[in-house]
Subunit: 515 residues, 2 copies
């Protein structure tokens, strides 16, 4: 699919696919620049990352990028002219889902030859990449308490527990004033349970106020949770209030620490890696550098038996047919289409959001004309392999390989769903420069372009802009990312971990109303 | 309206209004308890706070509490039997709004005789009760940065600035992945502006990521904000990333501190007090003790020229006609009814939330049969005076006296709207035991019953259970609360301030979808 994957880029433009009628400016181009490879002369001032007509495109003709329709010419466009929102229409068109028609099983690497990392093997066989103690609130009313318990465990107080990565609070703004039954409450409880039992936690506390709609008892029942040495619960109204609950919580964590500290990293197969795929602040290079490079890494990971979770449903809308065709079965494809139908026909009706046609301010500046083009780029994070499963938000991800989870595009909400589903690593591509970081799954950030990487070097883990600079191929970058996965999973700190991010990024999808 | 307001309670029951067909158990009552004042014998086991039929109530007859209909008998009920959800129907009925028909202006205390407190008079004439520096995030993506800046300013580092109450972060979980235009974004921006310019702040920073939907520029334009010595802004993508923005923010706050520290408290009229009224975890005593006592305090405050802001629209639904009748004009009454119509006919359609009939788990246990009864109690926090204005969420409250602001019932979201509107104090009644606290406006908590007060004494500021115990009248408690307002406004720490609450309670109403 990706013409450039094995060769280093050079020259003023990038041709993404032989069938495309556009090419992408690799550098800022001035009027009159000759493009011998396309037998074309540039007729517009075209900023790097923007599209140029490679041949005459007639009014009404589809604009083809990576051989996928990303819009329609709203006028005749001569070769050499810039192609952007001024001469492109965004409109719905029939996409043939052709479920499973292009399914091709992954060429798996034999188990004994697979890559490994140093992970924490839990009693239930799941594998962690970090070793935290987590403290969750059922409701905003217990947020201060869970945060104060976590804050008490300073590095100084944890110095006798070197194998514990920290005590971390997962508070949120909901849990009461919300719908008591149905998906809004079920989703919140799924999300909380996914964190409380995450392999990156050695143990957890869950703390409620007492009178909230998200009753602790209901949470435990729905999610089949029970108190044991790794999971304790408190209700503030029964524990004597704020101060006494904080004290009780500190004591409970103290009692957990020796056991939490006793676990050791051991060599495990890369098959235990589950990577949540994110993008935020995309630009015109996302689809050329970081996203397909991350996709190349996921293709490699899938061959080693691991899992890549693509999400952000509004950001695959328009190219869902490229996923359904790769689905392992019609059912998997149809599950994806049902999620999109819900977004379009129920959830987003009449709302001024991306799935209805408007990309974010940062994206427009970055050269993305419309949401189809953004979606094309976003979907590349998942690689080119078969789609093995589709999950609802925060459902446990149990199928290996390339899978999809329905989440919003908003980064913290999307990553929270993936981590709740079991992702033990997050890989985040960004063009404008996201500063995201997550706990308990560490997050690595992949820059799409070199100038941003250099500007925000404290925040970026890897510079996929090198692909654009012509110093490395897409395939080489994919391998480099895969190797970074293994190192970070084994305990190397990512940039966002060094910066201490992740304490404000637990944001369960509030899918109902606040009342 | 409140029969018991001037006399101490005694005996097994409480008669709330001469016209009521129910009375309320003051203590747990056993079968056979004689009630001479009602010429009735108790025929059920009735827990304290629950209702008892004072005379025979025929099937279909309204249940009258405070002379307001809170339900309909679904069977004939003999005197002495408990009246609760098992024999009460909850159904819609016509309520005559009779706009402004019972309007009676407040009997104002002459300006020179009004109570005073020690407040911070700002350059624009508004008066603060605290003196913080605030740091706001435009989007979840800058949450870590604003919190890390605030956390840097430990008491040790602030010790040369004794008049500064602290540096506080106001981060939230939204700002991107949301509707870009219309009420969802306008509301968020109103809320942020209300905090950034709050009289309890000496100065503020606003920090954005750069590519978010809630663009800093759009925020500043919509809210007519501009940078000056009291308001600085940063965009992380332009400031070199996480670490550099934190450093720049710390330096900006450092530069603000000398001026922030130079302000001194001075004597001002109680007319500058604006109290946000909250309840959470209500019980059967809320409507007998804490809520009407808080209402009595608001009646006093209104006579001194101050403001009380009633909110929580779902929690006045069913008794809105008691407010429209007291409205100062038909327009004010109609504005309230329009808000309720929007909740019922648009926002909450098909949702499992309180306005559609279901009270929270904590409320049902507390003896509240249905939402009308809960609403009756909730509305009493506003007192008995005329309704002077109705505001949308987070709109600046500029009218004095008793006013209403449309908010959800969920405590942090409701209080955030009131504080954004200018509330410089929050008064919170609770039966089950809320642990709420807010910044930059301090919050006092009023217990409805003595056992809870004693159980959660570290969290409760005042025990309105004394009314039930018969040691103080409602009017005396109202005066005591009013005097606490003045002391807390003058700098005395509330319980929730001593506990350090308020760092997780800034929760703007997410009124749109997360996408
Ligand atoms: Ca949080
Ligand atoms: Ca995203
Ligand atoms: Ca409330
Ligand atoms: Ca509540
Ligand atoms: Ca917050």
């Amino acid at each position: 699919m990706i013409e450039t994957s094995q060769k280093k880029l050079s020259g003023p433009i990038i041709r993404l696919h032989p069938n495309d009628n556009i090419v992408v400016a690799r550098i800022d181009m001035t009027i009159g620049t000759e493009v011998p490879s396309e037998n074309m002369t540039c007729k517009s001032q075209v900023p790097a990352g923007y599209k140029i007509a490679a041949r005459k495109i007639l009014k009404g003709e589809p604009i083809l990028k990576y051989a996928v329709t990303v819009g329609f010419a709203n006028t005749d466009i001569e070769p050499g002219y810039m192609v952007h929102s001024h001469n492109t229409d965004f409109r719905e068109f029939d996409r043939d889902y052709a479920h499973a028609s292009e399914f091709k099983p992954v060429d798996m690497i034999p188990e004994n030859e697979r890559a490994t990392f140093q992970g924490y093997v839990r009693a239930n066989g799941r594998v962690g990449t970090r070793n935290f103690v987590g403290i969750l609130s059922t409701v905003n009313c217990s947020a201060t308490v869970v945060n104060k318990i976590a804050a008490w465990f300073t590095p100084e107080r944890l110095k006798d527990y070197p194998n514990v990565d920290g005590v971390v609070a997962f508070s949120h703004s909901i849990g009461c004033g919300m719908e008591m039954t149905g998906e809004p409450m079920q989703l919140l409880r799924r999300t909380m349970a996914g964190y409380a039992t995450h392999p990156n936690l050695a143990g957890a506390l869950i703390i409620g106020l007492g009178c909230e709609r998200n009753q602790l008892k209901g949470l435990m029942e729905q999610e089949n949770l029970s108190e044991d040495s790794n999971l304790h619960t408190f209700i503030m109204q029964e524990s004597g209030g704020t101060t006494k609950t904080i004290q009780a919580g500190i004591e409970a964590v103290m009692a957990m620490l020796p056991k939490a500290n006793s676990v050791k990293r051991e060599t495990v197969s890369a098959a235990h890696l589950s990577v949540g795929l994110q993008c935020g602040g995309s630009d015109g290079f996302s689809s050329i550098t970081a996203n397909p490079a991350l996709g190349a890494a996921i293709d490699i990971l899938a061959r080693h038996g691991g899992t890549g979770i693509l999400s952000e449903t509004p950001e695959i809308y328009g190219v869902e047919h490229t996923l359904t065709r790769r689905a392992a079965s019609r059912e998997i494809g149809e599950k994806l289409i049902e999620r999109i139908r819900w977004w379009k026909d129920e959830y987003s009706v009449g709302r001024d959001v991306q799935i209805n046609g408007q990309v974010s301010p940062g994206n427009q500046v970055g050269g993305l004309a419309n949401i189809f083009e953004k979606s094309l780029g976003s979907s590349m994070k998942g690689g080119t392999g078969p789609l093995m499963a589709v999950y609802k938000y925060a459902e446990p991800v149990t199928t290996k390989g390339f899978v999809f989870m329905d989440t919003p595009g908003f980064d913290p909400v999307s990553a929270t769903g993936q981590i709740a589903g079991g992702a033990n690593l997050v890989a985040f591509t960004t063009g404008r420069g996201s500063m995201f970081g997550s706990k308990p799954a560490p997050c690595i950030k992949l820059a799409t372009n070199t100038p941003m990487y250099q500007r925000l070097t404290d925040d970026m883990d890897i510079n996929c802009g090198e692909i654009l600079d012509g110093t490395v191929t897409l395939q080489e970058m994919g391998q480099r990312i895969f190797e970074l996965f293994l190192r970070i999973a084994s305990g190397e700190q990512s940039k966002s971990e060094e910066l201490g991010l992740g304490d404000y990024e637990f944001v369960p999808w509030q899918i109902g109303i606040m009342s």
